[in-house]
Amino acid sequence: MRDNVSSPVREFWERFTTNRFATAGLVVIVVLFLLSLAAALVTPYSPDTIDAWHVLLPPSASHWFGTDELGRDVFTRVVYGARVSLKVGFVAVGIAVVIGTVIGLFAGFYGGWVDSVLMRLVDIMLCFPTFFLILAVIAMLEPSIWYIMVIIGLTGWMGVARLVRAEVLSLKSRDFILAARVLGASDLRIIFRHILPNALSPVLVSATLGVAGAILTESALSFLGIGVQPPTPSWGNILTSGKDYIEFAWWLSLFPGVAILVTVLSYNLVGEGIRDALDPRRQ
């Protein structure tokens, strides 16, 4: 089994790359990632240098995306904002995936009352309009990017839990699990060594979509004034600061808006691509 590992990966990759939209999405994501890492190299400005005498200048050779309401370079802020927005996406989803996976694994593996209790918890959490919960908690705590990531994560794990549980239920009775049990493996070992790796693929898809959702949630929070706090740029708060000037300083909302749009779209396309590539029926 072990020496076969590289072949399914390659197979997956080949199938994934036949989907041109998904590949394009992946390219966008990678480029953005590199751009945000190399932010200081691609722009001569700092994201928080204010120039009160040059506010809201249209795009020009020296300011590719124009300047914002405090005379800061919008291109620089969008590039640095990518860091923050991507960080929010990844950390929030990381939290959601960990919680969801653990709950799904235990519920599916143990069944019985553990399953009932955990799945009722999922049902209850799913009843709340998630954005209401996020809003209630964040508005009451001190606003910080960490809280935002944690809260988005804490309110977004239910889908993952259901997916993992379903997967575990179908794996539980498979031969290799029964074999492991006969050989005396402990529950935890079976869960984490044998079941978890096999349940990961649906999680990967939902995580990819989750990153997109978290970026959007941050921008909605910024619109309401409780997103990432200034002067730290995030796409959400740059877009929000541009909304008052939508009619004449279009550059201030257009670039962060398009950045969000393209990124979220890319994550969705990649998520779809992964799902299709993993789908056994497509072989």
Binding site: T49, A52, V55, L56, E142, P143, Q229, P230, P231, D244
Partner: protein
């Protein structure tokens, strides 16, 4: 697929309904003598003494009257009081009330209403923020239905102005719990407009009072629309859904300069009666050193703030008064000028040394603090960011925290749990500074929340409010401005310009020192 067809059909219906005979098109064409204004916030309570938000007072101002009011040149004139006499020692004021004034429900307005308003305001059970001035009153009497007399124990200069407080209807409130009164959502006043309806979250509608003692207002209907988002409000203005709003400096200077806009709207600009400041929590050792406070002021370029935040439409503030008013001292000697080198020198002198990461340190502790400000005020947020950058240049690390107004006040200001605040005060017409600066006003929920204690200043404040001699008062306030400039308990930042815009359909607007709203009841439509 038939569903898609239904949707198309519906859409078609909407679009054809936009034809000429749709009532909304007619309504827009006529406009009528209806006046629509927009507000971000919804009024909280229409009993004026129970509310302190500007939305509530916008409405109350048209529904109620006080005994006196400021005219367009900011001189006190009679409102519900036809005339008044002040005793020679200044301790007693006798108001002669206007006869024939009726409450909107038809009852006669009498001195009983005035007496009731006074009593309920000073009643400790009434949760109001406006009791302070009335507490100076030693006794209040209503000798007859149209006379009202108040006596003060000692001379109190703001006494007369304090009777601008809206008068409440005694016949509807007396003997009842004012906090549970239906009037808070259904006010009955004596003013030029009669309350008609309040649709929560949407609008408040007032109708002209045909029997108003000054004559019925020309604009027959006043609509106060609640539009929580500023960008939405601006679009409503352009689309004709709102007749008046306050513009932001960017809107004023960059977005509303086209011919088309200027043909449809009239813009106004005059200094607002308000200033914005940076206030230091003087309970903290860090800010007890005057050199640190002066250094911060030196490090801040106020010109730059006015440029960046107000696009130049405002004036530098160096004290709590509005430039051009009688108490304002034009040239203050002790005011620190923008001078980053001097700022660094002052901090050096105060014992701060440059530490790792370019942040000053003293006794191993970095010079670092958080500026708190309230949400919903874009200008303050911008201002904080400019200050943050300037202070970083002299080695001070600043964080910014924005909070919702109510929780900002309760959880931080009132408990003294802040380091530096960026806030604003409105400048009242009377220059008395007791509430904000007197050392007795440092308790919870009081306005000297920065805890500024200066016996010399206290003495001058009491002296200033305790005399009717204008020259003596002015002298006190000039000295106060020097002390505040020297001590820098606040860094006074700027006095912004008010930038209202009104649709050109409305005529009769007369800009004056008091702004444009002073003759609202004389505004008309051609």
């Amino acid at each position: 697929m038939s569903l898609a067809r239904t949707v198309c059909l519906l859409l078609f219906l909407f679009l054809t309904a936009c034809g000429q005979d749709a009532p909304w098109n007619k309504a827009q064409a006529q406009g009528g003598a209806q006046f629509v204004t927009g507000s971000i916030g919804e009024p909280s309570n229409l009993i004026p003494i129970l509310a302190s938000d500007s939305s509530s007072s916008d409405i109350s101002g048209l529904v109620y009257n006080g005994l006196v009011r400021y005219d367009k040149n900011l001189k006190l004139e009679g409102d519900l009081a036809q005339s008044w006499e002040v005793s020679p020692d200044g301790l007693q004021i006798t108001f002669h009330l206007r006869r024939g004034v009726k409450w909107h429900d038809g009852h006669d307005f009498t001195s009983r209403d005035v007496l009731y308003t006074y009593r309920v305001t000073v009643d400790p059970k009434t949760p109001t923020a406006y009791a302070e001035d009335f507490k100076q009153v030693q006794s209040a009497q209503a000798p007859d239905s149209y006379t009202f007399r108040v006596t003060y124990a000692k001379p109190f200069a703001p006494a007369l102005a304090s009777w601008g407080m809206p008068i409440l209807p005694a016949h509807l409130l007396e003997g009842k719990d004012i906090t549970k009164s239906p009037l808070s959502r259904n006010p009955v006043g004596t003013g030029p407009y009669i309350f008609k309806e309040w649709i929560p979250g949407q609008r408040v509608i007032l109708e002209a009072n045909p029997k108003y003692w000054e004559g019925a207002p020309h604009l027959s209907r006043y609509v106060y629309r609640i539009i929580p988002d500023n960008s939405t409000m601006y679009m409503e203005l352009k689309a004709g859904g709102v007749d008046m709003m306050g513009l932001s400096p960017v809107q004023y200077q960059r977005q509303t300069t086209g011919k088309e806009f200027l043909a449809r709207f009239n813009k106004y600009r005059y200094p607002a009666s308000a200033y914005t400041y940076l206030g230091y929590n003087l309970r903290l050792p860090m800010f007890q050193d005057v050199r640190v406070r002066r250094a911060i002021t030196c490090a801040i370029n106020k010109e730059e703030i006015i440029q960046g935040v107000l696009l130049g439409m405002g004036q530098i503030a160096h004290g709590p008064y509005k430039p051009g008013t009688w108490a304002y001292k034009p040239k203050v000697d002790n005011d620190p000028a923008y001078d980053p080198v001097n700022a660094k020198a002052l901090l050096q002198e105060a014992g701060y040394r440059m530490g790792a990461g370019g942040i000053l340190e003293k006794d191993g502790k970095p010079l670092s603090f958080t500026i708190m400000t309230n949400q919903g005020n874009d200008q303050r947020l911008k201002c904080a960011q400019i200050i943050q950058m300037r202070l970083k240049k002299v080695g001070i690390d600043v964080k910014i925290r924005v909070m919702e107004w109510a929780s900002f006040l309760t959880n931080f200001i009132d408990k003294g749990k802040f380091e530096v605040v960026l806030m604003g005060w409105t400048i009242s017409q009377d220059p008395d500074l007791y509430d904000v600066w007197h050392s007795s006003k440092t308790g919870p929920k009081e306005l000297n929340f920065i805890h500024y204690l200066n016996p010399e200043l206290d003495r001058l404040i009491v002296e200033g409010r305790g005399t009717f001699d204008m020259a003596k008062r002015r002298d006190c306030y000039y000295q106060i401005q020097e002390i505040l400039a020297k001590d820098q308990p606040y860094t006074f930042l700027y006095v912004p310009d008010a930038l209202p815009v009104v649709t050109s359909r409305i005529k009769g607007i007369e800009p004056a020192p008091a702004g444009i709203m002073h003759n609202f009841i004389k505004w008309y439509v051609d």
